[in-house]
Structure formats: C-alpha cells, structure tokens
C-alpha cells in the first residue's frame, strides 16, 4: 500500500512549496471561499469531473474553479457559453432502476455477479449520517468493522474523501464490497449495455478512470485500517445485451490508477494559483456583471484542447478565447505537436507561404519563420505541394 496522496507531512521533498500548516490550510480555505463567494456552498467534485481534471492537468483555470467548488455550469451560462451537458430523465430513471435491481436481495445478487454463489449472510451497514464529514467517518468505521469481521459486507454508496491539489473532495462510489479476507473491491454500476460480453470501449475507459479515483481514495482509508487491502480490479456491472438483467466484468484499473495518481501529483497546488491572483477577484455570481466575471476568469490561464468540450463546462468559453488568440491547439493537440515553435495559425500560414509578412496572427510570433528551421522547411514544402496539386486539379477541370 503506497502512501496516500495528500498527507501533507510526508510530501516528497522535491516539491519546493512549504509544508502546509493548519494555519496555511485555513488561509487557503478562506481564500477559496472568497473566490467562490462567501454565501455560496462549495460544489462537490464528482469522480467524473476528477477524472476529466486529471486528463488535462495543465489547466489552471479548471483546477482553481473546481478546487474552489465554483458552479462552473452557472458560470458558463453567465459568460454566454452555456455548457451543453445534461442528462435525460429517461436515462436517470433507467439508471436508478437498474442500480436498485443490482443491489436487490440484500446484496446477494451483486455477490453472485462477483462469482460468490453462497455468501452466507451479507452485512449491509447503514451509512447514513449528517453532513459529508459524518458520512465519511461512518464509512471508515463500517470499513474497519467489515475488515475485522469474517463475512461479506456490501457498502451501499459509501462516502470517501480524496485531497486534490490541496483541498479535500468527496467521492461516492456506487458500492464497495469487503470480502472475508479483508479485501475491498470497488463496484461501478453503469447503464450502458454489455452486448455479447463487450461494451463500448470509450465508456468502459471512462468508468475505469472513475473507479481508479475511488481506489485511490479507498487506499487512504485502508492505510489506516489493519488487515485491509484495496483490490486493483474493480467490478463493472452493466445490463446484459438488450435486457435489464445485470452482468458483470472485472476490470483491471492498475494502469488508470497509476496515471490518475501521477496526474493528481502533478496538479499545481491550488493555493499557488490562488495566491497569484489579484486581491478582490471573485467568481461569485451574485452582484457581478458578465464582464467582471469574464475578467475574473481571464485572470486564470487556461489550457484549452478540443477534448475539453466534452469534459468541462467552460469548454466553449475557453474555445472562443483560444480562437480569438488564433491558437493552433484549437485544431487539436496533435496539430500543435507537429509545428515546433509556431503557436498561432497566422504564424504557421505565414511561415508556410514564406512571405514573411504577418498573417492574421499577432506580430510578436516568429513570423515568416527562419527557413533553416526544419519545421518551417517542412511547412513550406507541404504548402508548395498542396498548391501544386490544387492548381493541377483546377487546370484539369477547366480543360
């Protein structure tokens, strides 16, 4: 069991920032509350948002807004680029009824999917408590009791915490199963179908990334629990073919866990981002005009890439900013990689044409580009070949 991500005292020495003290933590919390708006409750991060955050760890804007618990969907609407996300009530109803079916019969159905035909009695402890802290503590207690016991236990919607970029976030897996040997297994219940034993690869990937975050959060608790071990294989439960009968598949999330863990460690600490901001800046939607909010958002740099559109509420807002800046990554991350030091579309086109005259981009870039630069030379050849082919096709059409 590796050390958890967040125990501030044992952070690796290579990071230069000072070890956070309780006082500095309080200061950060206060600062984040200020940014969010003192009257606004923080918005919890769901695991999907976390996994998406880990997919673009370089984005400070997203890290800060998520860390401060700002309602990004509401913010995006005020900025004039509402997020296109939403969930159909048909899908929600279907998802809920399927989950209820899976957990029916006191958890025995779920254990059957795990391959346990006769589990004896299955303990399903009550995890309700007031407030997220209470529920987290209740979950930890139930996990300890289940690990000490010698039967099967099903934890229905336990609540876990994970420290992300210096601030705690709450996570709620669908279920965790504790087996008689003290091994904890994350259960992820999804409503996309597994047809002939195979489900949509993209959806399985997203579920695995999400489950990996739960595994990381569970490892924190396991480190403090004697005899506990967190399984790196999670159970993915889906409807079988075109029925509402559940079927399950074990998914190895070791790779996703390692990737997520590394990405989370790389996340710039939120307090650093917050400290770099000018005083008095706030994302509180109350009493602020769209212009003021927009200026506040602009104060935090973004790292837009097209896949943000499907993961982040502010994706469309950042896209229009990136397009205004004529940035090449609006066309995709891969495009950016092939162009060397040229970062604006205007600069690339100018380099390709070799005219040296600034294109539509800013005048500071390496306009025209030095011909000896291999990236520029390749662009010029590509440009010339493209023009030659197009001219040839035109001539052929005129004939």
């Amino acid at each position: 069991m590796s050390a958890s991500l967040d125990d501030g005292g044992s952070r690796p020495p290579q990071t230069t920032d000072p070890v956070p003290t309780p006082a500095s933590r309080r200061r950060t919390r206060e600062r984040l509350a200020e940014l969010r708006g003192p009257a606004v409750p923080p918005r919890p991060l769901d695991a999907r948002a976390l996994a998406a955050l880990a997919a673009n760890p370089g984005c400070r804007r997203r890290a800060l807004l998520d860390g401060a618990g700002v309602d990004k969907a509401a913010l995006a609407s005020r900025l004039g680029s509402p997020a296109p996300f939403g969930q159909s009530q048909f899908a929600i109803v279907r998802g809920n009824s399927f989950e209820a079916k899976v957990k029916a019969d006191g958890g025995r159905e779920l254990l059957r999917l795990l391959g346990v035909e006769d589990p004896g009695t299955v303990a399903v402890p009550d995890l309700s408590a007031s407030g997220p802290e209470g529920r987290t503590a209740r979950t930890a207690l139930a996990l300890r009791e289940a690990t000490a016991g010698d039967g099967w236990t099903l934890l229905d919607h336990p609540l876990l915490t994970l420290e992300v970029a210096g601030s705690p976030v709450h996570l709620e897996p669908d279920a965790v199963v504790v087996d008689p040997t003290g091994r904890w297994t994350v259960v992820e219940i999804k409503s996309f179908p597994m047809v002939d034993g195979a489900a949509d690869a993209a959806k399985v990937g997203a579920a695995a990334r999400q489950a990996a975050v739960y595994v990381l959060a569970l490892e924190r608790v396991a480190a403090l629990t004697e005899g506990a071990e967190v399984g790196h294989t999670v159970l993915l439960v889906c409807p079988k073919d075109f029925s509402n009968l559940p079927t399950a598949s074990a998914v190895d999330v070791r790779r996703q866990r390692a990737v997520t863990r590394r990405q989370l460690e790389r996340l710039t600490r939120i307090e650093e981002i917050a400290e770099a901001l000018p005083e008095g800046l706030s994302f509180d939607l109350e009493g602020r005009s769209a212009e003021e909010l927009s200026a506040a958002v602009e104060a935090v740099p973004h790292a837009y890439a097209p896949d943000c559109l499907t993961a982040c509420e502010l994706g469309f807002h950042c896209r229009s900013r990136a397009r205004e800046a004529d940035a090449v990554q609006t066309l995709g991350r891969a495009v950016r990689g092939e162009l060397g030091g040229l970062t604006t579309i205007g600069a690339v086109l100018a380099a390709a044409r070799g005219d040296g005259a600034p294109g539509s981009g800013d005048a500071d870039g390496p306009e025209g580009g030095a011909p000896e630069d291999p990236a520029v030379a390749a662009l010029r050849r590509a440009w010339a070949l493209r023009q030659e082919a197009l001219a040839g096709a035109e001539a052929a059409a005129c004939r």
Binding site: S88, S243, I345, L385, L390
Partner: protein, 529 residues
Amino acid sequence: MSLIAHLARMEAVETGRAQPLATVRHRHLGGRPLVLVPLTTAGEAGAPLGALVGTDPDEPRLLVVPQPRDRELRFAFLAELAEEVLPYVDGYADAVELVERNETDPETGKKTKVEVELCADAPQLIVPSRAGIEYVRLLGRSTRFRRTAEQDPDTPYPAPPRVPLLGRWLTHYGERARVPGSSLLLAATDLLNRHWATGQSSLEDQHLGALLAWIDPYDDEPGAEGAHRAELGRDSRGQLLCPPAGPATDPAFDNQLLAPAIEAYDRARQAVGAAEDGGTADAALAALHRAEREVRRLVLSQLRPTWGATWRALGLLRQLPEGARVPDRWTRDRWSFTAHRDRITAGEPPQPRRDDAVTAAAKLAAREQAQGQLDAQEALDDPLVLAGRRLSGEAFAAEVTEVTMAWTESKRPAPRPLLTVRTEDRPHLDAGVKVYRSLGGKPQSAEFARREEDGSLVLRLLDRMGRSKEPAEGTVPEKGERISWTLFEHDARVGPKLPDPEETPWTHGGPPRSADAELPDAVTPEDLL
C-alpha cells in the same frame, strides 16, 4: 493526419470556409441511396424512438415509437422499418450479370472456369453520423436472433415476420462498414470529412450541422460562427436550433418536451383501457390519437433538420467528380452484397454473436488488404492525396531528362531502358528500391539504379514493354515527360492465402464451430428492456 491536412485546416480558419482535402470523390454514391436517420431512447440499448427513412428527399417515411419501453410498439416500429428497407434491398437482388471465376474442383483439384452471378448494383445505406453506423450494427444485433411465431410457435414474444431478416441485413451492412473504402453503409459526416478540411478539430467535425456550416454556409456566414450556432444555438424555449444528428437526442428535448408528451400518451392509453361505455371509449381513443400525434410531431421536429442535412451533404459530394478507381472498390461491395444475398437464399443461419477464429482472421486480413489498397488507389486518383505521399517521401513527381536504351544480357535480350529523371521531391530511395508508375491504368515498375552528381535519379524500367527486343510503342517515357512515381505498390500485395476452414490446423482454428444456430436472447417478462 499529414501536415498538408493541417495546413488546409488553418487555411479554413483564415478564410472562414472549409478547404478541399480531395479533388475527386473517393467514395461511391449510388443513384438511389436509402437514407436512414434513427433516433434512440436515452439510457436504453436498442430502444428506438423513431426514424426517417427513404430514397426520396422530399418524401421520407416517419416511424415513431410513442412509448419506447413498450415491446409491442417497438416491434411495430421494426416491422415498419423492415417494410421500408427490405423491398429496397430486394430490388437489387435480381438484376445480375454473369462473371467468370476460377474455381478449383474439390475432387480433382483442377482449376475450372465457372460462371457466377454478380449483382449489377447494390443497395446503399446512408446515415448522418458515425454513431448512426454503430446504431445500425446495434439494431442488427438486437433483431437478428429474434424468433418469429412461424420459426418457433412457443416463443413467448414473437417478433413480426420480416424483422429477423432485417437484422441480418443491418448486421451485414454494419460489418461491411468496417472495411476501409467500402461504400455500402456510409456516414454523411465521414464523407464530408474525407473531402473537406474545416477550421475546427476532428472532434468537432463529428457534428453534422457544424460541418455543413463550414462547407456550405448560408449567406456566406463565416464557418466558425455558423458552427457555433449549430452546436449551441437555442430558441426561446431552450431547444437546440440544430438538433443532434442522433441517434442520441438532446437531454433538454427529452426532459422538457418528449417526457411530458410520452406521459400524456401513457395516460390516454390508460383512459382507453378504463373506458366503460362506447361514448367515453370513443372520446378516449380520440385523445389517444391526439397524444400519439403530438409525440410524432415532436420526434419529427428532431429528425427533419438532420434528414435535410444528410441530403445536403450528399448533394455536395455529388458535385465532385468520381475518382477513377472508385468503381473498382464498388465492385467489391457488389460482391459482398451478392454473397450475403446467396447466404440468405441458401437458408444459412444468422451471423453468429462472435466470429470464430478462422472467420476473424480472414476478416482482419481482408480489412488490412483493403486499407492498403485504399491508400494506394486514393493517391493514384487524386493529386492532392498524392501530395501527402510525396511529402512523406513515398512518392515523387519527376521530369524525364534522358532515356538511354539498355538490355538484359541473356540469350534473348529484353529491354531495360535507363531513365534519368529530375525531381524536387525527396523520396526515400536506396539502391534496388522499386518504384511504380501508372501506365494505362496498370502499374509499370522500375528500379532505382543510382543518384547522379547533379542530384538526378536514374531508374531502370523493368516491365510492361512487350516481348520483343524493342520496347512496344508508348511503354517507355520520352524526354521531357513528367511522371508521378510511387514507392508503394498500386495493388496491395495479397498475403499468403489463408487455408480453408477444414484445412486450418487445430492450433489456429479455435474451438470447433458448433453446427446449431445460436439461441435467441433471453427475454424478460417486463416490457422494460
């Protein structure tokens, strides 16, 4: 994607209009394709909500499931879809041409010529987006194992008669769509993306409305603005101006409009069931029809824009001249169609859930070969595609500066002329590398001999010059001619032929194929899928 395609995207950003990625059309478009725009219910697998289908842009047939969770209504939808698709498919089954094919007699091992049927044309299915292709596969999978009352009188929920057959055809089309370069089942977005570069990323290019805003804008509106409106624009009620091309619907549409309408439909159905006398029953029936019409109206409002957009995309593609080698690939599609027609006529069982090892290996090999063939053919058909290969050093255009005759030193000398050519391109050539050019549609090969001091290349022509000592006329390039050479073969090499299933060693054959047909999916008593 190559640097040339990146540049095209950037030019599109600069001009606000999509830029060509091809100078010819690289996919076959039939005279009478069947367009299918399906919609599905969120959260349910294979629970269709509705569809527009037809071969006439002005007269689509609207199919709607007013309560997608009702099995009977779903079956009714599938039966109607079969009524629309199967006559269209059958319309191509009878017009055949006879083609000679070499076949080996299994007993004597002698090769004989046999005449076999090849359908003169094949039905072509067009869906709006790539997700539509997946949905066709899913519909095929969900219906091909269904049992009709005729096949199995004891089946608890018999499917309408032609539905399993529909499933087999949809499965075949879905499977064929995975073969590179095939045109039996195509997505409008894929077609547009193959031929134009927009000023957005390939992820955003999956949105049909946004794509058309770049390629075919209204009133010369800049592409980025039109695309933004297509992606996000909403009316005063919060509904998308450009509904998604499906099969998934917009959640706002589901929650605000569709859910209340379906609920009203359910209530009206209950009222019909509860009606006690004739008068109330008539009133309840009228209310039920009204409720159903309302669901149909809503579903149509989401389908209609996509229907129009799909036909607009086809119209744009028809403006491009067809590539010279596209008919060759379409012939393969016709073979595929003919073969499936024969399997159905022969009464073979539906495609299995999973391919066995031998079939899977054969499919993989066929797709690999098709990919190689597609890459080569597209480059030969289209100078813009060839430009990409020239950039990567896999082809070069060169002017012949000198022709020196030479012969082999055998008893019957054959011509091996040496060509000195000059090129600006930078092909990856080493001594002995073979290069190819197209001579009357057939590849002529040459071998790289050496590089001259002034940078010219010397090539030795190897074939297609006839049998006599002097090369046949027109087979040797003349001085001053400009020729495109490729380093890749024009007909992708066919790997060693896979053995027949019976001949496959047990180590490679996988578990033995069971002779029985696959069992239908389990059905649950609830109507819930």
